[in-house]
Symmetry: C2
Subunit: 412 residues, 2 copies
């Protein structure tokens, strides 16, 4: 397919990411699907690093997802090999054979066992991947020795992404400066519980594997698991968090210690930033939408309702049309299946209260809402009237002609 135009919501530039001590990155061209651009990325972590991962909930998960889940569970992962353009999903035994072929060559080159290498593949589903093409580029990457930047890595893992996604932050833990870098890809097939999204986050902090896993799960709930583009869930979603321990500090082992909380806050910032960037690169996106639901019986109920609003094609097309058609929000609340009180429902858009106690407010003036709808950032707030403390925030984008164009033509 031809190059897609840059998303209307793209940031001005890729942020400045410094190196993370203990991480080496390499990128290269496999020649499989894309011509003239990097499409393979190797991340190598120094010995003693800890690694956590979260994967798609799909029942038709790809072979690399099965492999990486087992790799993290078995203990000592050191590298992640990623390719873009072919998901090696639903490729049966042929897909597994191809993967183990290039993994064995890569393991040999890195002097690791193949179970120490994790795998992520993103792209078309159902087409066998070339084990030989991958093996060949793996050898090139090993020879390269790891001189790519984080920006190079972020660019290499893109599929329909129109910009490379990165985020970084630093904080001081017990007198030591630690840094967290993250990169991600994803633009369609995005739904909570991981959609076709891949993310790699690394820190030079020293954190035990168990603690790292807990921190990753906590932060995913309010970042990658709180975004949706089209409600479609990928076979390949993977989020990796690596702690190299290159910084001289006491190893963090207790996820509820003050140090862990500090890391968690910094990690949340990086992961939420990356999650927002994925939405802002949502296929055809023109508007960035924040849906906040309060007053539900539980957080889980609030999330179901927020997702019903965020995934409704009618809500998303109304926003694309800059139409303050709030009746569609009422509809989405009603269809969600979670408890909501029609007669105590309140709705605000852009801070303007439109409806309260189950009906439109007296003397409703649409002008400020219309003005808000013309902006890039749309805020929808709904109190579902159950008088509970349950709440949830979900981020999404509008549904435009661009989404249709991109997805009606993607494979060809």
């Amino acid at each position: 397919m031809s190059e897609l135009p840059l998303s209307a919501l793209a940031p001005d530039s890729f942020p400045a990411l410094s190196d993370i001590a203990g991480i080496r990155l390499s990128v290269g061209q496999s020649g499989m699907k894309y011509k003239g651009r990097d499409d393979v990325m190797l991340l190598l972590a120094q010995e003693g690093s800890t690694v956590a991962g979260i994967f798609t909930q799909s029942a038709t998960a790809a072979a690399p997802v099965d492999w990486s889940r087992a790799g993290i569970a078995s203990g000592n992962p050191r590298a992640i090999i990623t390719n873009a353009g072919n998901a090696n999903a639903f490729t049966g035994t042929r897909g597994v054979t191809a993967m183990t072929h290039y993994l064995s060559r890569l393991a040999e080159g890195l002097s690791l066992t193949d179970t120490q290498i994790l795998v992520a593949s993103t792209g078309v589903i159902g087409e066998p991947i070339s084990g030989e093409a991958m093996a060949s580029i793996c050898e090139t990457l090993v020879a390269d020795g790891g001189h790519a930047s984080w920006q190079d890595a972020a660019a290499a893992i893109r599929t329909t992404d129109t910009f490379a996604k990165g985020a970084t932050t630093s904080c001081i833990i017990g007198g030591s400066v630690i840094t967290i870098n993250g990169i991600a890809k994803g633009s369609g097939m995005i739904a909570p519980d991981m959609a076709t999204m891949l993310a790699y986050i690394a820190t030079d902090a020293a954190i035990s594997a168990d603690c790292l896993d807990i921190l990753l799960r906590r932060c995913a709930e309010k970042s990658f698991n709180a975004i949706t583009v089209d409600s479609d869930t990928s076979t390949s979603d993977s989020v990796y968090l690596i702690a190299t321990g290159a910084v001289d500090m006491l190893v963090i082992t207790n996820p509820d210690s003050p140090e862990a909380k500090q890391v968690q806050a910094a990690l949340q910032m990086v992961m939420t930033d990356l999650a927002h960037q994925i939405v802002k690169d949502g296929e055809g996106a023109q508007k960035f939408i924040t849906v906040t639901v309060t007053g539900a019986q539980t957080d889980a109920d609030a999330k179901i309702i927020a997702l019903a609003i965020a995934n409704s094609p009618l809500v998303k097309t109304a926003i694309a049309g800059e139409d303050a058609n709030w009746g569609r929000i009422v509809m989405a609340v009603g269809k969600s299946g979670a408890a909501a009180s029609r007669d105590e429902l309140s709705i605000a858009i852009g801070g303007t209260i439109i409806a309260e106690q189950g009906e439109r407010v007296e003397g409703y003036d649409e002008a400020p809402v219309r003005a808000h709808m013309e902006g890039r950032n749309i805020d929808i707030t709904v109190d579902v009237g159950m008088r509970g403390t349950g709440q949830s925030t979900i981020w999404t984008c509008d549904l435009t002609h661009g989404y249709i164009s991109i997805n009606a033509d993607y494979r060809s």
Copy 2:
């Protein structure tokens, strides 16, 4: 908004519907939203008729839905008043006041109690309806005396529908010829300016109220409850079935009797026909899609999976683009949440087996699939490999630029 072009999937003409003895229809113009077309329809059933109804599951159901549910439960409904253009949904006490105002005038004109009149409203959500404008047109309809045809009635209840929808059949029950007529409207599952599905089915057969209710529910499961356009559920969906008993026959009271089964088969034909017409008028629809899922543990599981495929924006856009991108079907199966076996999954499109036992078949030739994708009717069959007897068929349409255009501009 300007007139929408006729759906690409529209039938050649409205079928010939004869009268149903015991039913009188009237149509007229309220002057509320539409200019120069009928937008109100009154259906009057003769004394002794039985009536069954099925309504939206929405938690934010419209006032008319609450009213009609109670009216059917309380026993002796005789009339249904319907307006198009304003759903009188989420309009709080003002909406109820407006409705009871025009109902009291209509009841007086028809010499009925207001609880004998059922109400259906379809159109924009959240805008108060004019009780006075409705009362005025109700008086006109009463004076008219019921001379409209079924086609007139089908035309009057349209919102974004691009064609009027009707179906009819006859059969012989114990020597008597009975007729079943049906009309429906709907094109998006809901659009707060119109769209919602309403259906009115009437027969001159004599069927007890309890039996009628059971037959309606059985047939709805494989017709109106087996279609989806955009996964959005209206606040106002209503399906009515009326049996006037005008034909000289023994009253059918046992839903499992041979006579009831005969009526059920005929009713299923009419309701499935109407349901298909709604999909064929799906906003922007270019393709009529049949999704059949087999091999699931239960019918319920099969339906969840079939709906996941039918509602997937990525599947629907691929079909719009005539792209045999079957990997998206794998994705949709995986995300559904119902049990499926990745490694025993089979997929066929247009009768061509693409994947078996969890991977693409050897020597897969895309040509016949591509040819099938270029047609108007797309058949997708998935065996989910759970070796069960659960199966389900769901009908839907593709997701096109037309859907975006209609829904991004609809209210204005």
